[in-house]
Symmetry: C2
Subunit: 127 residues, 2 copies
């Protein structure tokens, strides 16, 4: 497993990636519709962004038919991991625990969520 160049995406690009991760391969139209629910930007803006992302290889696309279908070209878990890692380093002095507690403290998670985490920790312990 070789180390590769860190994924670098802007906030807007991350939003688009997130949609692609959630929905799977999608057209510009589909992405834009989803994006429009929470954001306010023109269709061509989304299109352009996705074209830029193509150049950056954050997404790939199938253009065999008229309508291009875009697919996330970076792994979700990996991207998440890298983002967190960078955040831990630059804002939490290298302590994942600090980040975790801050996340839980601030976000006021549901009981179900906390339970999930507790179970996860149990699993880790046994290993």
């Amino acid at each position: 497993m070789q180390k590769q160049t860190p994924i670098k995406a802007t906030e807007s690009e991350l939003e688009i990636l997130n949609i692609l991760w959630a929905q799977g391969p999608s057209t510009v139209k589909e992405v834009h519709e989803k994006l429009s629910l929470t954001k306010d930007a023109g269709y061509t803006t989304t299109l352009k962004l996705m074209q830029i992302m193509l150049k950056k290889q954050l997404v790939s696309r199938d253009g065999s038919s008229k309508i291009h279908v875009y697919t996330a070209a970076v792994d979700q878990a990996q991207a998440q991991g890298q983002m967190l890692q960078r955040m831990i380093e630059t804002m939490f002095n290298g302590s994942a625990a600090q980040l975790v507690m801050q996340a839980l403290g601030n976000h006021r998670s549901s009981k179900a969520e906390l339970e999930l985490i507790r179970e996860y920790l149990e699993g880790k312990k046994k290993k």
Copy 2:
């Protein structure tokens, strides 16, 4: 407690803030020296960045003597919380638990850290 405009800082600015949080009020020189350990940029670049941050009110400064002393003007915990919140929304589909588990899974935290978190969760439970 009133809601205020979200803190908006770039990556470089975050690095500087982090140094100010860790070291307390510092001169440009001190910040730059720390920064130079991990980054490669000229002195005036750091200076300029900090001047911009002053304008943005991310830092304040005491210029009573020749050498200006800069202080972080935003609260660390608050900034951390906001960053995480945004990340949870845009990359983890609103689930703090997902973020937490990703952070722990990837980072391979120490036993001590995991124990810390476990205790923290116990504390939350009792409430």
